[in-house]
């Protein structure tokens, strides 16, 4: 994971790909979003989505999964090089989350995240706040998902 000082505006990083199976779509939907078009192929075909569609919250959660896995890879690499490790803090929230196109059973979504802006935290010395824009693109190159997130990122050299 990057320290605050290393975040560059415009920097963009692919974090991983995930294939949404019908089974995973239905399992998530049964727990958290049991609307008919997320549970049944035929209902999905009859809906605006045109097929069994993943819950938008499933798509968002998988994007988080990919971002966390990427961060943990970076942490392992930093440890292997004997470097100091940046452990990020929580996120205060997000804006402008868009489910642009349906994510249907069998679709593979590739997620990436970019740095939009950063600033030092007023309330928490030693921390900065990152504003990011993350997107998901399907196997046809169509953007299906995006949001603007924020997160607390530690400074490599916090003020004494």
């Amino acid at each position: 994971m990057f320290f605050y000082e290393e975040l560059e505006i415009g920097q963009r990083r692919e974090v991983g790909s995930y294939t949404f199976t019908a089974e995973a779509i239905k399992k998530f939907a049964a727990k958290y979003d049991p609307q008919r078009f997320h549970l049944d192929e035929e209902e999905g075909r009859k809906s605006l989505f045109g097929g069994l569609a993943a819950s938008g919250w499933h798509v968002g959660s998988v994007c988080m999964k990919m971002m966390v896995a990427d961060g943990q890879r970076l942490i392992r690499e930093a440890i292997a090089r004997g470097e100091k490790v940046a452990v990020w803090g929580p996120s205060p929230g997000f804006r402008d989350l868009r489910w642009i196109r349906p994510v249907l059973a069998g679709d593979t979504i590739t997620f990436s995240t970019g740095v939009e802006s950063k600033r030092l935290s007023d309330s928490r010395p030693g921390w900065g706040i990152l504003q990011s824009r993350s997107i998901g693109v399907n196997q046809r190159g169509e953007e299906v998902y995006s949001f603007r997130g924020s997160a607390f990122v530690p400074l490599r050299d916090p003020p004494a």
């Binding site: 809906s47 605006l48 919250w57 929580p90 996120s91 205060p92 804006r95 402008d96 928490r124």
Partner: protein, 153 residues
């Protein structure tokens, strides 16, 4: 049960839904699959984190809010889905065994220009724990069929 259509949503308080308890087991299961950061999985690491104790993933909290919306009214609404979420604010951590309720307000209801048979209803939903502390605010539009319009779905 009658199906709710666009006309049933007027600006103002729509209702309060829940409660729903979120167990430690559920927090660990969701975090293990989607958000395996130490602050959501490991008690000792969570104590050292900014949130000072084990907390559920924010995406888990949003997903539970979706379920409260579904059980509250979306399950019996002529909903066609949602284009996105304008804003989510994670204000306080979700803790194991929190009992959540959801206050739902209609912020705006307007007929869709591109699909006149539907309307766009924007909701503001606030998840609170048993002490009434707001954990998360979500502002999100949902597309709802208008009454008397043939079911295009």
């Amino acid at each position: 049960m009658t199906t709710l259509t666009f006309e049933d949503f007027k600006p103002g308080r729509f209702g309060t839904f829940g409660p729903r308890r979120v167990t430690r087991e559920e927090i660990l299961e969701f975090a293990g699959e989607f958000d395996p950061q130490p602050m959501h999985l490991d008690e000792a690491a969570a104590k050292r984190s900014m949130l000072k104790g084990l907390s559920g993933s924010g995406w888990h909290l949003c997903s539970v809010m979706m379920r409260l919306l579904f059980d509250g009214f979306i399950g019996r609404t002529a909903s066609l889905g949602s284009p996105g979420v304008s804003e989510v604010r994670w204000m306080a951590p979700l803790r194991p065994d929190d009992e959540l309720t959801l206050d739902v307000d209609v912020v705006e209801a307007r007929v869709s220009k591109s699909r006149p048979g539907t309307g766009i209803v924007t909701f503001k939903s606030t998840a609170r724990n048993a002490a009434g502390v707001a954990l998360c605010e979500m502002t999100s539009p949902i597309i709802v069929r208008r009454a008397g319009v043939a079911a295009e779905r």
